[in-house]
């Protein structure tokens, strides 16, 4: 209790005293509790200031050197407080409501972003930029992403719509449904998202439905620790169903899906990846030959 009080006094002092030690003009010690937020902090050029990340944070590679302060689902309050962060960036997860509340009660500054759609992702990047005193960089980043997406959309002008199935697991068969930004990317890339027809954001699909729907492109982001394993699993699994157009026409893509699943600054690359899978013929170097394990070097 004593410590709690002193913390409050410390915060009060921080507010009343001119910015000197501790909270300088801009936050010097940042903690991120979600992979997408970590990417955003790096994209804004503040990776050096990250003093803690969640154990799920895996990108960019420099993140390996940063201390872990719990998982995305269960951030560790004690570890976080011990790092004396100026600001914490968090994304709501099933398990982190209580820890985030505790951090706030302890007087720490927590910025919460919850990007679900493309518009919200761009908005969250701007919000993080504002909170971290990097507003201009954030605006430039968002403009760059918009440009990337526009360029891809231009390539796809007039392309035929293709039926797309994007899955994140085999047992059960969990697909990307409506209301997700991945669904938006598929639709923007002139694809018809079959998962959206089932209802729900991450529907557990029935195999019969998939066979009847006849996907022409399958994007399988069965997530492994190795891109190769993901691709192998995807090909092995789908090759059982020779009758699917996607299998027959060799448009099954196994992919290590971090940028397809993290609602962060690699949104533009994610859109291009999805577009290449759906309309390989519209891009310079065609990707033929079934499963492609691609994790393009950043």
């Amino acid at each position: 209790m004593v410590r709690l009080k002193s913390l409050r006094w410390g915060c009060l002092a921080a507010v009343l005293l001119p910015p000197a030690a501790g909270y300088a003009v801009e936050p010097a010690r940042i903690i991120s509790l979600a992979p997408s937020a970590t990417e955003a902090v790096f994209a804004l050029g503040l990776g050096e200031r990250l003093v803690g990340v969640s154990s799920y944070c895996d990108y960019p590679p420099e993140v390996e050197k940063i201390d872990r302060v719990g998982t995305f689902l269960t951030p560790n309050v004690e570890l976080i407080v011990a790092k004396r962060p100026d600001v914490i960036v968090a994304v709501p997860s099933p398990g982190n409501r209580a820890p985030v509340e505790s951090l706030r009660r302890l007087g720490l500054k927590v910025v919460v972003v919850d990007p679900q759609t493309v518009a919200e992702i761009l908005e969250s990047l701007l919000a993080i930029g504002r909170e971290l005193e990097r507003e201009q960089q954030a605006q430039a980043l968002v403009a760059h992403i918009r440009q990337q997406m526009a360029a891809v959309a231009q390539r796809l002008a007039g392309a035929p719509e293709r039926k797309v199935l994007m899955v994140v697991g085999h047992t059960p068969l969990i697909a990307v449904g409506g209301g997700t930004f991945q669904d938006e990317l598929i639709r923007s890339a002139r694809g018809v998202n079959l998962g959206a027809q089932a209802g729900g954001s991450w529907p557990h699909l029935n195999l019969e439905f998939v066979i009847a729907a006849g996907p022409e492109v399958i994007i399988d982001t069965t997530m492994g620790n190795e891109a190769r394993a993901g691709a192998e699993a995807a090909t092995a699994f789908w090759s059982q169903f020779r009758s699917l157009p996607a299998v027959r026409e060799r448009r099954v893509y196994g992919y290590r899906a971090y940028q397809l699943l993290h609602p962060g600054p690699r949104l533009g690359e994610a859109f291009e990846t999805v577009a290449r899978f759906i309309h390989a013929d519209r891009f310079d170097h065609e990707r033929e030959g079934g499963a492609v394990a691609a994790d393009p070097e950043p």
Binding site: T171, L173, G200, N206, E208, G224, N225, G230, Q240
Partner: protein
């Protein structure tokens, strides 16, 4: 609790009726699903791009058959365990074998790093190994002065399950997000399969295990009278208990390794059949096997078609259908059977 006099005629009539029901169930269930299959089209072998045929023979029928096999195995294991332990609450997932299998599967899932191999073969293998290990441990613990003690067996099983459950939670907490999801879904149980070979292998295990139990059915009847009476009647109690436990373990280990934890079948079907047919194991074992198969096929049919394109875990359906029906039967028949 003396078994009613069993005539050959009754045995044949009851089982023939159930076999007919099971065959009708399999045919009907194969025709029902989230997607309408045009049977005439599905049976034409020479069509290119025949999605009706693929759905019926690659997605639906193997799954229906696996549900029948798993349901039969769980129900007959349930009968054996309730008789062996003389405890109406005994059911396949209670004796620790399932916990052991689940632990083995989870370790295989993590060790395999979610490669193609781990999902297809490593996981069932890990589960089978985990079931064997737990069986050996529980058996050793329950063997007191060279005799298998039912209460010790039951307690050892429950404790082993709790222990395995705690370890699974621990692995789950340490695993990455995607593995944790995978573990959770595996534990919920699923009968989705595209492999007739898998069905054949598990079917063989089930037949061997259930046949082995059937050979013991007369001794199980005597055992139900109590240990003292059984010994006076010259039944080798320890041997019967041991072989019934091994047979039940074989059944449970095999089905858990392919379908995860599907509850209620092994508890409810034996009791329902006991209420309907009496407690004679010679009739109860084959009848429960057939009824378990019928019940799980219907439960899985609901699970895969009730919500259209989206699936419900089959364990949810078995609990929702089984629970209320069981309570109703207890209310109606309980006094007669257990009072």
């Amino acid at each position: 609790m003396t078994p009613a006099h069993l005539t050959l005629r009754r045995f044949v009539i009851v089982n023939a009726l159930l076999v007919a029901l099971l065959l009708a169930t399999i045919v009907l269930a194969a025709l029902l699903g989230s997607v309408h299959v045009d049977l005439a089209r599905a049976l034409q072998a020479d069509l290119a791009d025949n999605s009706d045929r693929v759905i019926l023979f690659e997605a639906r029928l193997p799954r229906v058959l696996l549900a029948a096999v798993v349901g039969g195995a769980l129900a007959s294991a349930g009968v054996a365990l309730q008789g062996l332990l003389r405890n109406p609450l005994a059911e396949p997932h209670l004796i620790g074998i399932s916990g052991g299998a689940a632990l083995g599967a989870v370790i295989a899932l993590i060790a395999g790093g979610r490669s193609a191999a781990s999902e297809a073969s490593l996981l069932p293998f890990g589960a089978a190994l985990g079931a064997l290990v737990s069986m050996a441990v529980i058996y050793r613990v329950a063997l007191v002065h060279g005799r298998l003690q039912p209460y010790v067996l039951l307690l050892a099983g429950v404790v082993y399950n709790a222990f395995a459950g705690a370890l699974i939670m621990c692995v789950n907490a340490l695993a990455d997000f995607y593995h944790a999801q995978g573990i959770l879904f595996w534990l919920m149980g699923s009968l989705a399969t595209q492999s007739y070979r898998l069905v054949a292998v598990i079917g063989l295990y089930t037949l061997v295990g259930a046949g082995w139990l059937l050979l013991q059915s007369r001794q199980l009847n005597v055992l139900a009278l109590g240990e003292e009476s059984a010994l006076q009647l010259g039944v080798d109690v320890t041997r019967v208990r041991r072989s019934a436990f091994l047979a039940a373990s074989l059944l449970v280990g095999a089905v858990v390794s392919v379908s995860g934890m599907i509850g209620f079948v092994g508890l409810i079907v034996p009791h329902v059949m006991r209420l309907l047919l009496g407690a004679d194991h010679r009739l109860l074992l084959p009848a429960a096997l057939l009824a378990g198969a019928i019940f799980l096929v219907w439960a899985d049919t609901i699970a895969r078609s009730a919500l259209g394109a989206v699936e419900i875990p089959v364990g949810v359906v078995t609990a929702l259908c089984g629970g209320p029906f069981f309570v109703y039967l207890l209310k109606r028949e309980g006094k007669k059977a257990f009072g």
